[in-house]
Amino acid sequence: MMWRAILTFGFVCVMGASSPAFSQGDPAQGEALFRPCAACHMIGDGAVSRVGPHLNALIGRPVGALPDYRYSPVLQDAGAEGALWDETALDRFLESPRDYFPGTRMAYRGMRDAQERLDLIAYMISEGGLADGEVTASEGETDPEIAAILEIAGDPAYGQYLSSECTACHRPSGGDDIPSIAGLAPSAFIHGIVAYRNGSREHGVMNTVAARLGDEEIAALAAYFEGVE
């Protein structure tokens, strides 16, 4: 793949201007470590923002910069002040997100192991590219599985009934440990559920819940949750 070659080159350049420690990360290890992140973040071809912003071309990107994502105020402020995501900033953020950006809505508590953070960052660069790389968000065709559900006019009344399965764990607002899904855009909701249904996102509870949701049911849920403030 052409962009991989470009990214490798870009990676080396960035490394030259940064701490050489970051070259010690193992993207293969990082891929496994990314799994909990994938509950909220997409990365790679076709990634879009969902519960969390997509993570393509993150390194080199200004903090809080994606136009289609509503960031926590603390990240917006940091971006307005000119903060950039470089490896050092990302490493410190991943170590303890709430210490680095107090007030961030991201539920993740942090990764203590320094080598694991290096591996994770290496994976995010290899999979998502750098800010001046070739990978960009939302290019390519919408997944046909998702497109089919987006075509359906979901029944919010049915969605409200089905949502009672969700509300045992997802609160209408807040929730430090399980994200709220109220008010999600239907595209974001459907992307998330479909990824759990087809197994591209791994989570025991969510894979099991999503496995028995038909397209009509996902559309109904998306229609209902969009309307819940």
């Binding site: 609160r171 430090d176 440990d177 399980i178 028995r212």
Partner: protein
């Protein structure tokens, strides 16, 4: 389209409240649903019925306790991971925000012909549909030598509240190097992983305050929920502290003497310092008073949780014999939503959607070492049946275990909000 549930429900509740007195006058205009038991099944059912019927159903919730202490997560209090007060919830929002008539009294009987529930404090409450969600009571002679009269010496701590506090105090005050014994219950019982999470949490506390203490589990069952995961965790965190005696070594024939603080295991008498007796269980008393039990439990239809003996009575949660779902707070909450949808549909003509259920049981083994098991379910003529499930794996990373524990904290906040508003 934009629905703000709080605002919407707030205005509906205000209308309900203005109509709430006198209740008898209102009964002629609105159907009456009476819910007995304000736990994971009953509180959820009351709230969902009131919420989705928009004032067309007059909901009365009968629950003796003004402050409800959850049984789920009480083990985390034993382990020092929760404050006792964090387990307590009140019914104020169900009354003020949802217009539910909350009656703090004991339901003592059901007149199925007159369709009324009698109260210990006197009087009877009429119903069109009755929801019974009484949880469990104990089978008195299941552990010879133990009765509810001895629960202050040998606590069961298997209903939330003061029993949980008593057991914690006994663990904290146990003599150095003493023995904590648990008489585990036979199947079926509330919260299948509960006794083994409790052992984990007691071990965590003892490791800190009394590290030479021992834990003895006397278990009439061959195996138990998430056994491999628990035993792996016990080996990693509490090596040498926990011993389990199964039925192959006489645990099927156990008796206790609360005065002597002894446990007799098939003739082998052990003196212990704390003895947590979790007896065999049956449906709560009101299910027997209503005459809708078969054996120890109340059989129900999987489609709407209605009693197989009385279509106007629905039984939720631990008390119900429904099929494949474990007896858990999560299950009761899930069943309550199916029953609420069916009841509102029957009484108001709204749409009845097909039954679907789910359950997850999280357990904590030690700090940030959480595990889970769960499944989804649907209704069939043979009862509730599983449609798929998952369980934690022994070789998971520490990160995954911590995420699982964090997830359980999120679930606790969500389900208690789902129950109590």
């Amino acid at each position: 389209m934009s629905i703000n549930r709080r605002v919407f429900l707030g205005s509906a509740a205000a209308v309900s409240a203005s109509l709430a007195a006198p209740m008898v006058a209102r009964a002629q205009a609105a159907a009456n649903v009476v819910v007995v038991g304000g736990g994971a099944g009953g509180a959820t059912a009351a709230r969902y019925i009131a919420q989705s019927s928009n004032g067309a159903i007059n909901v009365t919730l009968i629950e003796p306790s003004r402050a409800y202490y959850t049984c789920f997560f009480s083990n985390l209090y034993l382990g020092g991971f929760r404050e006792f007060d964090s387990l307590g919830h009140t019914y104020g929002a169900l009354a003020s925000d949802y217009g539910i008539n909350v009656v703090h009294d004991w339901a003592t009987g059901v007149d199925r012909d007159a369709k009324t529930v009698s109260l210990a404090g006197g009087g009877a409450v009429p119903y069109d549909r009755l929801v019974l969600s009484p949880g469990i009571d104990f089978i008195e002679d299941s552990v010879p030598g133990w009765s509810t009269a001895s629960q202050n010496v040998m606590p069961h701590a298997y209903k939330g509240g003061s029993q949980t506090e008593l057991l914690k105090a006994q663990v904290m005050n146990m003599r150095e190097g003493g023995t904590f014994a648990m008489i585990a219950p036979p199947n079926p019982y509330r919260c299948p992983p509960g006794p083994y999470e409790r052992v984990s949490m007691v071990a965590h506390t003892l490791k800190e305050v009394n590290p030479t203490a021992k834990i003895l589990i006397v278990d009439p069952k061959e195996g138990f929920s998430k056994q491999g995961l628990f035993e792996d965790g016990w080996e990693r965190h509490y090596a040498g502290m926990i011993e389990r005696i199964g039925p192959d070594f006489g645990a099927g024939n156990v008796s206790v003497d609360p005065n002597a603080m002894t446990v007799d295991i098939d003739g082998q008498v052990e003196t212990v310092d704390v003895c947590n007796v979790i007896p065999a269980q049956r449906a709560g008393n009101i299910a027997f008073a209503a005459g809708i039990t078969d054996g120890n439990w109340a059989p129900v239809s999987a489609y709407d949780l209605s009693s197989t003996m009385d279509e106007n009575i629905h039984v939720l949660g631990d008390a119900a014999a429904q099929g494949a779902m474990p007896k858990s707070g999560f299950s009761a909450n899930s069943q309550a939503k199916v029953a609420a949808n069916a009841i509102v549909a029957a009484l108001t003509g709204s749409t009845a959607f097909p039954a679907r259920f789910s359950n997850t049981c999280w357990s904590l083994i030690d700090t940030n070492d959480g595990i889970k098991v769960g499944a989804t379910y649907e209704a069939s003529d043979e009862g509730i049946v599983s449609t798929g499930g998952f369980v934690s794996q022994v070789d998971e990373t520490a990160e995954t275990r911590e995420e699982t524990y964090r997830e359980s904290l999120g679930w606790y906040d969500a389900i208690t909000e789902d129950m109590f508003g």
